[in-house]
Symmetry: C2
Subunit: 321 residues, 2 copies
């Protein structure tokens, strides 16, 4: 059985999630793909941090070149967060022929062409299923099982924090500020919620969806964007009375060769499949000229769901090695 060696960069929520899945489902995965998957190295900021996070001591390294220069590493999983530094590291790994898996939408959306080029030059794979919709396998489906389609529209609820806030505002009739504070207390929203509530995270994800559906790159900064901070309890009530729901929708459509895209609070009739996506759940809704409307629904965040997507990408690459 061929052994595939992995390096994890970062051991936060997603890195540890992937590590735990590779451990708990090891036997099953190895049987399915007839490959043994071995985590060889874990890159961390400091050995103290490694200890805090529970990284096995024999795997931890604080020297990125321990990984980049290691010819036995087949796949690098970049799960550090950040934008420029992880993009540089991913580029180096790809150019040296190592395949890369990442959930890092910000690094990816800001450097899409550069990283795709590096993968082509290094004859390596770059996969990022976890970057949009967490565990939902929409990106792989768009690129593979649905590759016979010309896509005409993609829309989604791709940010769990804002969907949680809008759901609570709708169900409990509470104002934005109060629900945000509750979400922060429960760990569903960050202390600085800007990237979520202003739609920045959703714009990063939409940039990636546009690249895959329409083979066209639009920088997240060029996507018209409105967050949920201006949504009032009165807006929500008016929507409810009208049989509608307000959702933060990331949407792109191509008509007559012209792309229109945006991230903004949107009224949906309650009968729309996306209207039923509540709390922290995510969904991606695509329309193809053959398949018609399709929706993928699931957990958009969390260690194991996001780790599931990372492990799926590792498996897809491992099968080709």
């Amino acid at each position: 059985m061929k052994e595939i060696n992995i390096a994890l960069l970062g051991f936060g929520t997603v890195g540890k999630g992937a590590y735990d899945i590779l451990s708990m489902n090891k036997e099953l995965i190895e049987k399915r793909i007839n490959r043994s998957i071995n985590v060889e190295k874990v890159f961390v900021r400091s050995m103290e941090r490694a200890k805090e996070l529970g990284v096995p001591e024999a795997l931890a390294t604080t020297d990125i070149n321990d990984i980049l220069d290691n010819v036995f590493i087949d796949i690098v999983v970049e799960a550090m967060g950040g934008t420029d530094y992880p993009a540089d590291i991913m580029e180096k790994a790809l150019l040296s022929g190592k395949s890369v898996v990442t959930p890092n939408k910000a690094a990816l959306a800001a450097n899409f062409a550069r990283l795709k080029d590096a993968a082509a030059k290094g004859n390596a794979s770059l996969r990022f299923e976890a970057s949009v919709g967490g565990g939902i396998p929409a990106l792989t489906a768009i690129q593979e099982a649905l590759a016979g389609n010309q896509f005409t529209e993609v829309m989604g609820i791709v940010n769990g924090t804002t969907n949680y806030i809008l759901t609570k505002m709708t169900e409990e009739g509470l104002p934005y500020e109060e629900v945000l504070k509750d979400a922060q207390d429960k760990g569903f929203a960050e202390a600085d919620p800007t990237a979520d509530v202003e739609g920045i995270d959703a714009a990063n994800k939409l940039s990636i969806l546009i690249a895959l559906c329409f083979d066209e790159y639009i920088s997240p900064e060029d996507i018209p964007r409105e967050g949920i901070t201006g949504v009032t309890a009165a807006d929500i009530e008016a929507a409810t009375v009208a049989g509608q729901k307000i959702k933060l929708i990331a949407k792109a459509a191509k008509k007559d060769g012209k792309m229109e895209c945006s991230v903004k609070p949107t009224l949906l009739p309650v009968s729309h499949p996306l209207a039923g996506v509540s709390n922290e759940f995510n969904a991606i809704y695509v329309t193809g000229n053959a398949v018609g409307e399709l929706m993928f629904y699931g957990r958009g965040a969390g260690a194991l769901p996001t780790g599931s997507a990372v492990v799926g990408d590792i498996i897809a690459i491992a099968k080709t090695l």
Copy 2:
């Protein structure tokens, strides 16, 4: 650009749907996969039938050996319907090293091990995304992007005819017989609706889902099964009053190594994601030990949606040739 040669067996709804997609999206598909896909032969019962169906005369053949003995054919798409004859043909094609794509759940569910064996012996691919859920790419996701998961449960609305009937009974308060007749008039139900309304079609699909999720074969005949013919308007009304919906649910779950499976009318709370799946739409809902709950929603039938799944399988195979 490498040319991939396809033979279509049958030119009914699905065969023609796949043919039309390969034609209308030809340029886009060939650019995506850097392969040219060429329909070389179409097998039909008679030349008169071929003419009626609009098969290009140069492609039509009534001799199956024109295809099975043709070393230039890479992929055989079996879309004839039936059970024993198509299974025999698929087995022969696979043993001779031709890959096979089929939407034929009945032939597949009745001959799963035999066809998998033939694919292994012939070193060929056997793909059947279209056999469950039409255009919904759930089978590929279960086997690939979600391969890091141990599945604990799979459930679905996998028969569009019965879902259409139950939806109309619910929305319009009409009795089963009346809605069935209307569905037959509109072409949503067949003149002999037995396979649909008795849950036989759903059991075939569940057998396939079980094989993929749990790596275990259960014959459709051994799946406990109850159709929708006994569902009354009073049952539907009682469900509505209780905040529930009645859906024909195909379900399998594995607990402590023991499999439980069934096809039967099932009460779901209206808040369940499957409760919102209406009319002829299908959905597959899986639970994995990493990803948690996931739902795939889309069109479970029709020429282009089902053709989309067939073409996705053709593309997946073409990429490996």
